[in-house]
Every structure is written in structure tokens, then in C-alpha cells.
Amino acid sequence: MKRLSQLSLFALAILVLAQCEPTLNERTPDSGQADFSSYVAIGNSLTAGYADNALHRDGQLNSFPNILAGQMKEAGGGDFFQPLVNPGVGSNADDQARLVLRMTMGPDGTPTLAPAPAAESGQDIFSRTVEGPINNMGIPGARSFHLLAPGYGNLNPFFGRMMSDPMATVLGDAMMAEPTFFTLWIGNNDVLGYATSGGTGQGFAEMGDPAAVAGNDITPMNVFSGSIDAIAGTLAGSGARGAVINLPNVTSIPFFTTVPWNGLVLSAEQAQQLRAGYAAQGVPEQFIPDFQPGQNGFIIADPDMPDAVPPQLRFRMAQEGELILLSVPQNQIREEGLGSITPIPDQYTLRGAQIQEVRQATDAFNTKLQEAANEYNFAFVDVNSVLEAAKSGLVFEGTLLTTSFVQGGVFSLDGVHLTPRGSAVVANVIVEGINARYGSTLSPVNISAYDGVQFP
């Protein structure tokens, strides 16, 4: 009996040990000097979760502010109310549905994958209005000064569906949620309006009038600066803390980098035929592009050529560094000789001087955003340099993310807005910035938990 009790004691010890848990305890995030109890995200389409060329519910649910709010919740964050649209294909301001990847048969019978609208027209997302206070004040299309413009909801249906009053401002409505913490990512459209329309509007200017700024212009510096000062000042005045996010260079965005400048590949015979074709149309010898076998720059329109050049001859080969936009009708390139027989119109290209305008504006705006963050002691989040690094690829959790179109996983099918995975990357960069500035320990999210582009 004594031996039996010894044995059972021994067995008991073994059993107790077997139940003992490993010691890797979950960490509890802390808010540090920040207070996440009321987080309000202020910005444009990137903040709204706009993706695939439309505002749709999936995109909203995976917006970077919604991801961020989920992480803040672990550190005392409150509920994050988004102005969600009904489930469906979503819509943009032109009543178009979101893009999805579709398999189509090319002329030679080979299947190709290309973005196509998910439905013939967009879903009605504007007739149902949303009552505030709203935590996600991301307004697709908004520029810096729009956030301060009374009655902006009458011009922009994305704000119209959620404004508190016909004369409300975006910033005013954001303040109704009494933010203790904010993210401000604004200024993208102040540059992109010009860049995505191929530089057809007014370039970078020091001075200008907000009322005179057209959709394809770069916002003048004084207008941008004044707007940022007013927004940051209002937020700081309310006692809120937050993070200011900077603007990516267009060269990180697949809308501008997917179609190569020298994507015109010719055989010797084709090159010869093209030269002959131009000559037959009476184009003087010195204006005939120098088509060669192999890769050639696309033929692009260049309205800025000297006055001495007759308007019908203002075209040339694109040069290295110039950008062909994703909006270019690519079937016309393949089938109708666009970019070879006929020049690609100016609205689909960014030429050298136009790229300089965009770069100058982006740099100036980013400097201003950093100054504002410094002045009010907000966190400053350098998304620009992260996307710059992602051009050559960033490795997360066993997968390579790049800024390339479709395959890269970061940018959605419109080439400008983020996929859920891209939003997760941005959310993590912001988490890092907030933690560094406020001594908080917000947890980053797992990138692998979020989808990139979905394939059929």
C-alpha cells in the first residue's frame, strides 16, 4: 500500500506538470500619453476605404482607420462608427461599380486578366444618408481646403450623404465626434487631380485662390498651407492628439508606373513600316520618330513644343522617366496603333516638365505637413518613404509585397487606392508612428490576415 501511494504521488506530479502552460503570455497594449477613446479619421478616399474605383462596403470595412481603430480598442479605444454603404458593388461619383479582375479572351484567343466593372452601373450609395457623429470622415475627392469649405456636401455627394447640415464643413462634422485622437491624411488630391489628368491643368503655384482651383490643377501652396494650418490648429485647440500622414510620390503609385514608357516593341519590318507610314502622311523627315527594332518609346502628344512647330506635328517619342497613365486605352494601343501610328493624347501621359511640377508640389506639401505635425507635437507618419521602399519589395510574414499593379498586393485595381492588405501595411506604419510619438504600445496587425487583389 505504501508503495502504491508513492507511485500515485509520482503519477500526480507528472500529471500536474503535463497541465502546465507554456509561458508566452499575450501582451496588453497600452495607450501611453495618447487617449484613443474617441478616434476620428480625417481625410480623403484613402481614409474612406475607397478602393477598386468605388466606395464599397468591403473597402470601408478594410479601411486603414477601421483597422487602426480595432488595434486602438485593445488600448482603451472606443467604438469606431463608419458611414457604411449597403453590401454590394459600390459606386463612384460617376455611378460606376467597383472594378474586379475578369478573365477575357484576347483577339488571338489567349485568356487575359483585366479589371472590369463588377456591374453595369454603380449601386445607389448616395440616397441613404448617415447620421453622425461619424468617426471615419474620409471624403473621396476631398482636397485640403475642401475640409474647411461650408456647404461642401452640396458639391461632393460622398460628404452629402453624411453631412450634419447643408452648410456643414467636413472638419466641423469631424469635431462633433469630439476626437481625443485623430489621423489626418489630406493633400493627395491636391496633387493627384493634376497628375491623374495627365498634367493638363495648372501646375504648382505659390499663390492662388481656392475658388479658382479646377479639378485638374495642383492646389496652390498658399491655399494648401493655410488649410493645413487651420485644420491642425483646430484639432490642437480641441486638445486632441493625433498623427499627420504624408503624401506618396506618384512614382510609387501603379496608376503611373504600370504602362512602361518604352512598351512599343517592334520588329525591323514594323519599324520600317511605321517610318514609311509617317512619311506617306507628309510628315517631314526630321519629325518622323526614330523607330528601331526592339523597344521604343511610345509616341506621345507634346502640346508644349515651341510655337514654331505646327500643331499637327507636336508629337514625339516618350523618353525614359516619362510616365504613361493606367487610364490610357490599352486596347487601342494593342489594336489601333495608339502610341505608334497615332500619338497618345496628353491626358494619358506625364511628361518630364509635368512630373517636375508634381514632384515639387508633393515635396512642398510634405514639408508643410511635417512642419504642422512638429508645431503641434503630433506624430508624423512617413508613408511616402515606406511606399518608396515597397517599389523594390517589402517582405511581410513570408510574402513579398510590391507597388506593382495587381500582383503587388498593395494597390487595388484602380492603381491609386489600397487593397485591404495595403491598408494593413499603412495601418502598421501609423501604429509605429503613434507608438514612437506617444509612448503607446499599440499592436500592429498581421498583414497575412488581409487580402490583396482577388483573382477569379
Binding site: Q6, I14, P22, T23, L24, M103, P444, G452, P456
Partner: protein
């Protein structure tokens, strides 16, 4: 005796809070005999029973009866992962319980001093399944590795004091690896790949056993490396239709995994008439495991992968004892120290390897004079191990290995039955 058990119990509990629990070096399973497991998996220097066929074929010569021995363990292994600070993310494995087994039979041949035997055992194996959707699902979601060795053996007693033995090994191996693919589908499924293959290979196991005095015996054994080379295994991709070109249907793969050689030494002491003690050391030649590469038949440019492993040779040190509590009941205890063969930077989700301390116990009970029942319990303990991004960058594996902390808990009960005739 009671006092020492209380001390052991208390120290086990202290260990429980001081450290956490884990299993086996690399993908080696040292579960070759229940009597040996209970004694810290010792027995190279002292042939306790016919499990010596696998531990040290030279010891079989000392066994003067025909016998059969059937045994099995059950592995309860749980691995936890924690992402680097400040992440609040943790993940666990939900690994299936495996039952590594051993079957031995021996025969006293009509030839004087010659014994014959056969062993069927599972010296290597791995079964690990991470929770669904875990952080590193693109690296691995599930792995199963099985190796079964069949070893016919002859052992000869050269003199009263020295015996030698040799066995031929026929090995069967099966591997199944599953991981998610970093692409996403419009339809509601998770793109993934399952690699599945089997193979056979051969090797040998040799050993020598001798008595230095009546109280002290020794043994040495060497089991050769066996390369599991899978050729034309099934690579089954579950992907969106539009990605069928990148991930072709009916694809096949080649891969090779070494099952390293093991050199073992052991000393046995007959301390008193009813107390036996063993000291063993095993050197596993893990340096044979340099890479785990997958080569695909179709679309190799995109799909082939090279996984540097660069394991190191490692010694395991073991101690164990057996005490005759009554004529029919034996109590056993043992322990071992099993340092990891894997350097930081090479920890992978399939073998998040750590330095381990094993603690084992068990008993043997004579049901009849010919028939014994043996039971063992093995606990494997370790402290959490961290692999940083810098570790991975230093050795060039960043992006192909997880970053964070791992800890494993293992609890392995087992039993066997033996019969002599």
C-alpha cells in the same frame, strides 16, 4: 524513497513555473523503448530488453531468451508562438496526436552465441498543425513527417564479455506539407498548396556491448544516415482558375530530407542488487541537414524554393535509473539534456526548435514470470526561444522564416508489453 519522490514532485512543479515544456531535437523522436524512455532514454551501455535491437544491436547477444516486445507512445505536443513586441498576437498549434511505435522480436538461434532479431520502429517524425489563419500561414500551415525503419539484426557474443551486432535498415518515409499561398480568390476559399510524397531508402545500425567488471558495462552504437529522397511527389494547388498557369494542376515535386546518423555511447552500473544506473550520450549528425529544397516539374522558375537549414551536430546527454521496488515492480526515473541543433535565423514553423530538458518516469510490472507490462511518461521542458528579424537578416533567411518567440510543451505517455519464451 517517499521523501525523494516528494522532492522530485516539488522540483517538477518549480520547473513548471520556471520554464515551459517542449519535444525532441529537430525532428528526431527518441522513443525507441518504454523501459528506456522511463530511464531518460538510456540503455546503450546496458541491454535492458530487446529494444536494444535499435539502441545498440551489440547488446542483443546478451539476451538469452526468445522475446517479443510491442510498445507505443502518444505525443501531446503544443507549440505557442508570440509575435515581437509590441504585437499582442499569439498563436498556438493544434497538432494531431501521433503514436510512434516500436515492435521487436528476438530469437536465440541454434548457432552458439548468435542471436537474431527484428525491430520495426519510428526514430524520426513530426506532426504539427498551426491554428487556422495564423500569421505565417504562407510559410507553413501543417506538416506531417513519418519514418518507419524495419531492421533485421544479427548479434554475436565474441566472448563472455563482448558482443557485437549489426542490422540492415529498410526505411519507409512519408511527408505531407501544407501551406497557404499569398494570393487571394474572389470565391470563398483560401488558396493553398499540399505537397505529398513517399519514398524508401536503406541504411544500417551496428553496435558493440561489453562488460568491464561484473558491475560495469559499456556500449557503443552507430546508426547510419538515411536520405529520404522524394521524387515525383504530388503538388496539389488549390488556386483561382485564372492562376492555373502559375500553379499548374497535376504538378509534381522533388525534395530530399536527411534522417541523420546517430553515434551513441553508454555506461551501465549495477549499483546494488536492486538498483541499476545508466549514463548515455548520443551524437546526432544534424549537419547533414543543410537545405530543404523543393523542385517542381512544371513552372520551376516561379515555384522552386531553397530553404537553408544549416543544422549543427549535437550531443544529447542522458541519465537514468531503475529500482526494484518488489520482485514484480520496478520504478524508473531519468532525465536528459538535448541542445537544439538549430541556430537562430534558421528556426522554421515546422521545427521551432529549442534546447530541451527531458524528465521521465515509469514502471515495469511482471504480470506473469514471462510477461511484463511497462509504462512511461516523458515530459520535455524548455524556456521560450526568440528569433529576431536581425537573426534572420544575419544569415540571409529574412522573409522565409518566422520572427518572434516560440515555446513547446510535450507530454508523452506510453506503454509496452513484452513476452519471453
Amino acid at each position: 524513497m517517499k521523501k525523494s519522490l516528494t522532492v522530485i514532485t516539488a522540483s517538477l512543479l518549480v520547473l513548471c513555473f520556471a520554464a515551459s515544456t517542449v519535444l525532441a531535437g529537430g525532428y528526431q523522436l527518441n522513443l525507441l523503448g518504454q523501459r528506456q524512455i522511463a530511464m531518460g532514454h538510456t540503455g546503450v551501455g546496458m541491454p535492458l530488453d530487446i529494444a536494444t535491437i535499435s539502441l545498440n544491436p551489440g547488446g542483443l547477444a546478451t539476451i538469452d531468451h526468445n522475446a517479443i516486445l510491442l510498445g507505443s507512445s502518444a505525443t501531446f505536443i503544443s507549440t505557442h508562438y508570440r509575435a515581437p513586441a509590441p504585437s499582442s498576437y499569439v498563436a498556438k498549434t493544434d497538432s494531431p496526436t501521433r503514436t510512434p511505435f516500436s515492435i521487436y522480436a528476438s530469437y536465440v538461434t541454434p548457432v552458439e552465441n548468435l542471436r537474431a532479431g527484428i525491430g520495426i520502429y519510428t526514430p524520426y517524425g513530426n506532426a504539427l498543425r498551426w491554428e487556422e489563419g495564423w500569421k505565417y500561414r504562407f510559410l507553413l500551415s501543417e506538416i506531417s513527417l513519418t519514418a518507419i525503419f524495419v531492421q533485421p539484426t544479427l548479434s554475436y557474443r565474441i566472448s563472455d564479455r563482448i558482443g557485437v551486432g549489426a542490422g540492415f535498415i529498410f526505411a519507409y518515409g512519408a511527408v505531407n506539407v501544407q501551406r497557404d499561398l499569398p494570393v487571394d480568390a474572389q470565391d470563398d476559399f483560401t488558396p493553398m498548396v499540399e505537397l505529398d510524397g513517399t519514398t524508401t531508402a536503406i541504411g544500417f545500425n551496428v553496435g558493440v556491448h561489453g562488460k568491464i567488471t561484473d558491475q560495469i558495462s559499456f556500449g557503443a552504437a552507430y546508426r547510419s544516415q538515411i536520405d529520404m529522397e522524394i521524387s515525383g511527389g504530388d503538388a496539389d494547388f488549390t488556386v483561382p482558375t485564372s492562376l492555373g498557369g502559375t500553379f499548374p494542376e497535376g504538378n509534381r515535386f522533388d525534395a530530399a530530407l536527411p534522417l541523420p546518423a546517430v553515434l551513441s555511447f553508454g555506461l551501465g552500473f549495477m549499483a546494488t542488487d536492486d538498483l541499476r544506473l545508466n549514463l548515455d550520450a548520443n551524437l546526432t549528425f544534424w549537419s547533414a541537414y543543410e537545405n530543404l529544397n523543393f523542385e517542381f516539374e512544371q513552372n520551376p522558375e516561379t515555384l522552386n524554393s531553397i530553404g537553408p537549414r544549416n543544422y549543427n551536430d549535437r550531443w544529447i546527454f542522458r541519465v537514468g535509473g531503475e529500482y526494484d521496488a518488489t520482485d514484480r515492480l520496478q520504478l524508473r526515473l531519468g532525465s536528459y539534456y538535448d541542445p537544439s541543433p538549430v541556430d537562430e535565423g534558421y528556426l522554421t514553423p515546422e521545427t521551432p526548435d529549442l534546447d530541451r530538458i527531458g524528465i521521465s518516469g515509469g514502471f515495469g510490472f511482471a504480470i506473469t514470470p514471462q510477461t511484463d507490462l511497462n509504462a512511461s511518461v516523458l515530459l520535455v521542458l524548455s524556456t521560450p526561444r526568440e528569433q529576431t528579424a536581425q537573426d534572420a537578416m544575419d544569415v540571409g533567411t529574412f522573409g522565409t522564416v518566422p520572427v518572434g518567440e516560440f515555446v513547446t510543451r510535450a507530454w508523452i505517455p506510453g506503454f509496452s508489453i513484452s513476452h519471453r519464451f
